[in-house]
């Protein structure tokens, strides 16, 4: 084997070794790398019961209730299968809307209500001009009129 050949093999082995090590480490830390738990995971008891964690999902349409005279908000977060009630006191981000994704940091109380101390909006990967969105909504409403709420103005 020439010296170049040897170096080529050595670097190949090095890369393979590092990749394998990284993969093992990432699999081992799989749980810790999750930024948030979905309502289904929480319902299945995968979220830590006595520690704060993050809950992520979509805000259920028409579930947002504001207490007048205060910053208290209650809403439901769902992933399509289960939904979890959330309470929060504070200012919500611009993108917070019904039907949009959110990530809330907080703790489950004994009644199964998630008491959030921080609510972040999770943006989806859709980008379109308002006219296109309107056109899509019109066709969507024709298909199933029950989902006609267009979020907040």
């Amino acid at each position: 084997m020439t010296r170049r050949r040897k170096r080529l093999v050595l670097i190949g082995l090095l890369m393979a070794g590092v990749a394998a090590a990284a993969m093992l480490a990432l699999t081992a830390f799989q749980q810790n790398l999750l930024y948030f738990f979905s309502p289904s995971q929480v319902a299945a008891g995968e979220a830590p019961p006595d520690y704060p964690f993050r809950l992520g999902g979509l805000v259920v349409a028409q579930s947002v209730k504001r207490v007048s005279g205060s910053l208290d908000v209650r809403f439901q977060v769902t992933d399509g299968n289960r939904s979890i009630p959330v309470t929060y006191t504070g200012v919500l981000p611009d993108l917070f809307r019904e039907g949009q994704g959110v990530v809330a940091h907080g703790q489950l109380d004994a009644d199964g209500v998630f008491r959030a101390d921080q609510v972040l909006a999770k943006h989806d990967e859709e980008y379109m001009p308002p006219e296109v969105k309107k056109a899509l909504q019109v066709s969507d409403n024709d298909a199933n009129p029950s989902r006609s709420s267009g979020g907040e103005p």
């Binding site: 170049r4 170096r7 080529l8 670097i11 090095l14 890369m15 590092v18 990749a19 990284a22 990432l26 799989q30 790398l33 999750l34 930024y35 948030f36 738990f37 979905s38 992520g56 919500l92 981000p93 611009d94 993108l95 917070f96 809307r97 949009q100 990530v103 921080q118 609510v119 972040l120 909006a121 999770k122 943006h123 989806d124 990967e125 859709e126 980008y127 379109m128 001009p129 308002p130 006219e131 296109v132 969105k133 309107k134």
Partner: protein
């Protein structure tokens, strides 16, 4: 192809080749940059939810892609330098590092500026943001290591090893939004099937992507030329470049 690559590995040939390419690259880059910025920031329609704030993606997305692309290039140059001891590859790896670091920095800062109004926070420790920050540290580590030795060839070997090892981070960044739940949204453009972005927004984005690729290439060749001349200053071909001692017109 191999013969051409081999010729490109010779410093004087590379120097002349890059010198001839540079004016074209800079022109094309400036044209694309002007068109892309005007199209993206002025002509493209606002987003249905984010309004005009989404326009930061015309800077953010190309920079983030380029930060990964630059790293892959840097690691490839480093591997070529380690295996075949090509001097030009060492110089290229050394020259691309600050460019890649700048792209990473721009991606992080522009994302943070967008995150505050949209997400409601400047920064979160989710997998995408954290791995991109690690990429910035890898670049900085490479630069520090490459500058820590007096002998440029030893420096290239030590830093090159770091670059090659760090390449595991690239797929982690790319797939982080799919492997784990992250606050950062999933891929828009590279999604299989139809990209979930309106055509009128995708086109200026692609122009910006092309513009920044051209910028990377032009800036890389420019920097590599200077670095090569500085490193080879005692060799004959560099002395021949000096005016009055041969082909002086090459010194642009």
């Amino acid at each position: 192809m191999w013969i051409w690559l081999h010729r490109l590995g010779s410093p004087p040939y590379f120097y002349r080749f890059a010198g001839r390419l540079l004016p074209w690259l800079w022109t094309a880059c400036l044209v694309c940059l002007g068109v892309g910025l005007y199209w993206g920031l002025v002509v493209a329609p606002p987003d249905y939810q984010q309004g005009d704030s989404y326009r930061i993606m015309f800077i953010h997305v190309p920079s983030a892609w380029l930060s990964l692309f630059s790293y892959v290039l840097m690691a490839s140059f480093s591997a070529a330098a380690l295996i075949w001891r090509v001097k030009v590859a060492e110089v290229l790896a050394r020259s691309i590092a600050p460019l890649g670091a700048s792209f990473t920095f721009i991606a992080l800062v522009s994302g943070s500026l967008w995150g505050k109004p949209m997400w409601g926070t400047w920064w979160v420790w989710d997998a995408r943001l954290t791995s991109e920050l690690i990429l910035l540290f890898l670049y900085l580590g490479f630069i520090a290591l490459a500058s820590a030795f007096d002998d440029p060839r030893r420096a290239a070997r030590a830093a090159g090893l770091l670059a090659v090892v760090g390449v595991v981070n690239v797929p982690i960044i790319h797939f982080s939004v799919q492997w784990w739940n992250t606050l950062h949204q999933g891929p828009t453009v590279s999604k299989l099937g139809s990209p979930s972005i309106a055509f009128s927004m995708l086109l200026p984005l692609l122009v910006m992507v092309i513009a920044l690729h051209l910028y990377l290439l032009a800036a890389l060749l420019q920097k590599a030329r200077c670095e090569l001349v500085a490193r080879e200053r005692s060799s004959r071909w560099v002395n021949d470049l000096l005016p009055g001692r041969g082909v002086g017109d090459e010194l642009a």
